[in-house]
């Protein structure tokens, strides 16, 4: 069965709503409009306006209501149009949802799922294109997910709905049209990173919308005879250190790809963890491919130039090898560029 990332998110919500009356969907234009990214199209007809709840443009208010509703026994899915807009609700997520369990010494937990579109690549400019999921990954008390595949778009949302604590899901806008041929959609774990490609020469770590770019780069590098591991983080908090360190111990070279800006990025955090836990495994300094330190510009060529791209990832991997080592790493008979 061929399905898209968009349909997988749709099916995850619909299946959850069929399975559990406590599940509701709240957000701007999730009902009659069908969702800004058409994720909830058709749901109003099946589940009704009480459960597919169109909200006013009040991010702080409706995210807060979702949090209160979770405390009151519902399993709310709150859709925030973009991670940029979620900043209006940051207080409720950080100061209430994430802190409540601790402040109350474990008496209350907040099983709310907040989904938000993230990322650039659609010429939406600086107020609709940023990748701020790292801000949430900084906060103890919440789980932050970044599904990059159709299977995870469905599976991680289903599993998130059984979490007793708040979960943020960042859905990259460039992935909604991604399609895959899958026998069946099912819940997937929300605790581990995934090795999307096996290699021996270097490790490329990415998440969300950068995973397809990392795989593209790895394919190009393979043509040149350099085999890369590609790790899809999947879970941005808590980070799966074990999968990362296992790979680093095999390849000894690392490029971290992150659509956020370099400064204060998750890529920086991952680099620090590798230095702390696997420094002596490294044969070269860790390299990062992040977004240029600029609000995302509108013009297509400028937007593309600002973002991580496969050619930049290829160049970063090449940079991990000295001239001689690069030649040595390239296996004979595999072509090359």
């Amino acid at each position: 069965m061929t399905t898209t990332y968009r349909n997988a998110v749709h099916d995850a919500i619909a299946d959850a709503m069929r399975a559990d009356d406590r599940v509701v969907l709240l957000g701007e234009d999730v009902g009659r409009y069908g969702g800004t990214y058409a994720v909830s199209k058709g749901m109003l007809a099946e589940f009704g306006a009480d459960r597919i709840r169109d909200t006013p443009i009040s991010e702080l208010g409706f995210v807060g209501i979702g949090i209160g509703a979770a405390l009151g026994g519902l399993r709310p899915i709150v859709e925030v149009m973009t991670v940029n807009f979620s900043l209006l609700a940051l207080d409720q997520i950080v100061n209430t949802a994430a802190a409540l369990r601790h402040m109350s010494s474990g008496q209350f937990s907040v099983p709310v799922v907040v989904r938000m579109a993230t990322g650039a690549g659609r010429q939406l400019a600086a107020q609709h294109s940023h990748s701020l999921e790292n801000w949430y990954a900084h906060i103890p008390g919440i789980t932050v997910l970044a599904p990059s595949t159709v299977a995870d778009a469905y599976g991680m949302l289903r599993t998130a709905l059984s979490s007793p604590d708040p979960v943020i899901i960042a859905e990259h806008v460039g992935l909604y049209n991604l399609s895959a041929d899958l026998e069946e959609l099912q819940p997937t774990d929300i605790s581990r990173a995934a090795l999307r490609r096996n290699g021996t020469d270097a490790t490329i770590i990415a998440y969300g919308g950068c995973v397809p770019k990392a795989l593209d780069a790895a394919e190009q590098l393979a043509q040149a005879g350099v085999d890369c591991d590609v790790i899809d983080l999947r879970v941005l908090r808590p980070l799966d250190d074990a999968t990362i360190m296992e790979s680093v111990a095999r390849t000894h070279r690392v490029v971290v790809v992150d659509e956020a800006w370099h400064t204060g990025s998750l890529a920086g955090e991952i680099s620090a963890r590798i230095v702390e836990q696997a420094f002596y495994e490294l044969d070269a300094p860790i390299a990062r491919v992040c977004t240029a330190e600029v609000p995302i510009p509108y013009a297509k060529h400028l937007e593309e130039a600002a973002l991580p791209q496969p050619d930049k990832i290829v160049a970063a991997v090449r940079g991990l090898f000295g001239q001689d080592r690069w030649a040595g790493a390239q296996r004979p008979g595999t072509g090359g560029r």
Partner: protein
């Protein structure tokens, strides 16, 4: 007026709150309570008049000036004091302190110290009740300063739009920390603000415990019959500084003195009860003695409480795997 038994209960509860708060100030000066400490002295008639009008199934969401609300909701004074002492026997295990008192069993949802952040929470609790067909009220206490926050306006709008059974209890003590209401709000008529969202609203004398009680009764009955939200303003006054760090540069001593001398809710009510023959001087002395004993017990309990081991520092951040929620 009222009957003797009710009068006794109301006076007793106001005195319990007053003596607890005074002891907190003393314990702060003694270094046993730290952090920010916001006292309710002067405002007792609001919590004492209103909270008992709610049922045990209803929910209460309060602010960082919530010791009285916690006590009136039934959290033992021992547990409240132990919390402020940072002891694990406290009602939030020592993790919350004065501003974050919680009790799940009593549906007391804090102790929220971000101004107006409790409003969406209360509306969400009410939303869940409505969705699940439960007839309960979620009451949210907040100050008039909160009506300047976006969260207030967003929540009022949605509560009315969706007809949520939430009771907005606005404790208007005339100062947002140190900023007088006339200096912080373009519209000081808070009822008008609520009516602008078509939320039914009323105002009560929050220095008069019977008036607070009657207004709360009306509000609760309205929600139980009509289903939608209700906004109730309690006009009150804080006798002490905003917190223990406040030198009170923003208001005249004479103003505070006048409120204390002319409008003290405890003095006024005690005199009224005596004039009406509901309570005599001996009754009041007995109430004071019982409150003093309860406060002494609370301090002794808090003093005897234990400090959590730092080995468990990172517990209660996430629900442990396998635990049910």
């Amino acid at each position: 007026m009222t009957d003797a038994a009710t009068a006794r209960t109301l006076l007793t509860d106001m005195i319990r709150v007053r003596r607890m708060e005074e002891k907190c100030a003393e314990m702060y000066s003694a270094g046993k309570i730290r952090g920010f400490l916001h006292l309710y002295v002067g405002e007792e008639a609001v919590a004492v008049g209103s909270l008992p009008m709610l049922g045990s199934d209803d929910a209460v969401v309060a602010t960082y000036r919530e010791h009285a609300h916690a006590l009136l909701r039934g959290i033992p004074m021992t547990k409240i004091m132990a919390e402020m002492f940072g002891k694990q026997e406290g009602c939030s295990g020592g993790r919350g302190g004065s501003m974050h008192l919680f009790d799940a069993g009593r549906r007391f949802y804090g102790g929220n110290a971000i101004v107006a952040a409790g409003l969406p929470m209360a509306a969400g609790l009410a939303f869940a009740d409505k969705q699940l067909g439960r007839k309960r009220i979620s009451a949210c206490y907040f100050g008039e300063g909160a009506t300047a926050e976006g969260a207030f306006h967003e929540t009022m709008n949605m509560a009315q739009l969706w007809q949520l059974p939430v009771l907005f209890c606005c404790e208007n003590n005339r100062y947002a920390m140190g900023t007088a209401i006339e200096r912080e709000l373009s519209q000081v008529d808070l009822v008008a603000k609520a009516l602008a969202y078509r939320v039914p609203a009323a105002s009560a004398d929050g220095m008069d415990v019977l008036a607070s009680r009657a207004a709360m009764h009306t509000a609760v009955e309205h929600i139980r019959t009509a289903g939608g939200p209700y906004f109730l303003e309690f006009r009150t006054y804080r006798f002490r500084p905003h917190s223990m760090f406040d030198p009170e540069l923003y208001r005249d001593k004479a103003e505070v003195t006048e409120w204390r001398d002319e409008h003290d809710p405890i003095q006024t009510f005690a005199q009224q009860c005596q004039a009406d023959g509901l309570l005599n001087a001996d009754d009041i002395a007995a109430i004071e003695a019982a409150a003093a004993a309860e406060v002494a017990d609370a301090v002794a309990y808090a003093d005897a409480g234990t400090l959590e081991s730092i080995d468990t520092l990172t517990r209660d951040v996430m629900t442990p795997a396998g635990a049910s929620s």
